[in-house]
C-alpha cells in the first residue's frame, strides 16, 4: 500500500510501547498492531486524533504517501 504508517518510529521516539499507547488511546493492541503493520484499510479521525494527542504529533507525522509502494489490493 502506498500509504505508509510511521507509528512504530513515533513510538520509538516517544519511548512508548504499543501496549502503553493502547491503554492511553483506548484502542485494542490488536487493532493498533494492524495499523502499525500497514494492514489497516482505513483509519477513523477519532483514532488519528487520539494517537496524535497521546504522541503529541501531527497526522502527517504518522502517515506518509510512498508512490513506489504497490497499491492496496481490493
Amino acid at each position: 500500500m502506498a500509504i505508509v504508517v510511521r507509528l512504530d518510529e513515533k513510538l520509538h521516539e516517544r519511548r512508548m510501547t504499543l501496549t502503553e499507547l493502547s491503554e492511553r488511546v483506548d484502542i485494542t493492541v490488536a487493532n493498533l498492531s494492524i495499523l502499525k503493520t500497514g494492514k489497516a484499510k482505513a483509519i477513523r479521525f477519532s483514532t488519528l486524533e487520539a494517537i496524535c494527542a497521546v504522541l503529541d504529533c501531527q497526522p502527517g507525522d504518522l502517515l506518509a504517501f510512498d508512490p513506489t509502494q504497490p497499491p492496496q489490493e481490493e
Binding site: I27, L32, I34, L35, A40, K41, A42, I43, R44, T47
Partner: protein, 174 residues
Amino acid sequence: MTRPPNALPLARLLIRGLIVLNALYACAIGVLLVATLIYPKLLFDALVGLDGADAWQVRAALRAVVIVGIAGAYVVYRVLRELLAIVDTVRDGDPFVAGNARRLQAIAWWVLAGEGLRLLVGAIVLGASRFVPAIDNIDVGFSFAPWLAVLLLFVLARVFDEGTRMRADLEGTV
C-alpha cells in the same frame, strides 16, 4: 437484555422437513401424471358426471396443470434450498455476505416464477372451463401477498447487498 430463544435449529429442521414433503408432493403428482397417461380412465373417472369432461382438451388441460404442479414443486425446492443456505450462514456466524444478497434475489425470482405458474394454472383452468362449465369457479389461490413478498424480497436483497458492501468498507478500519 435477554436474547430471544435461538430458533435456528428449529428453522433448519423445518426447512429440511418441508424439502422432504415437497419432494413427496412432486413424486405424488408425477405418479398421478404417469397414471393418467397409462390409464386415462382414471382421469375420466375423476371427472365423471361433469358435462363436457370427456373432451380431449379438458384431459390435456388437466395434465398440463399437473406438469405445472411439478414445475411448481421445483420452484418451491429452489426457494427452500436458498433459504436453508441463508440459515446455514447464520449458523456459521457470518450472514452478512454477498452470497446471501444473491440468494435473497434468487428467492425473489423463484417466488415470482411460482406466481407466474399460478397464473398459468389459472389460465389453463379458465381455458378448460369453456368445455366444462362446472369448473369455472375453481380457486387457483390468487393473492396479492406473494407479489408483495416478491417486491419485499427484491428490496431486501438490495439492502443486504448494500449492507455487505458497507461492512466490507468498514473491515480493516481502525
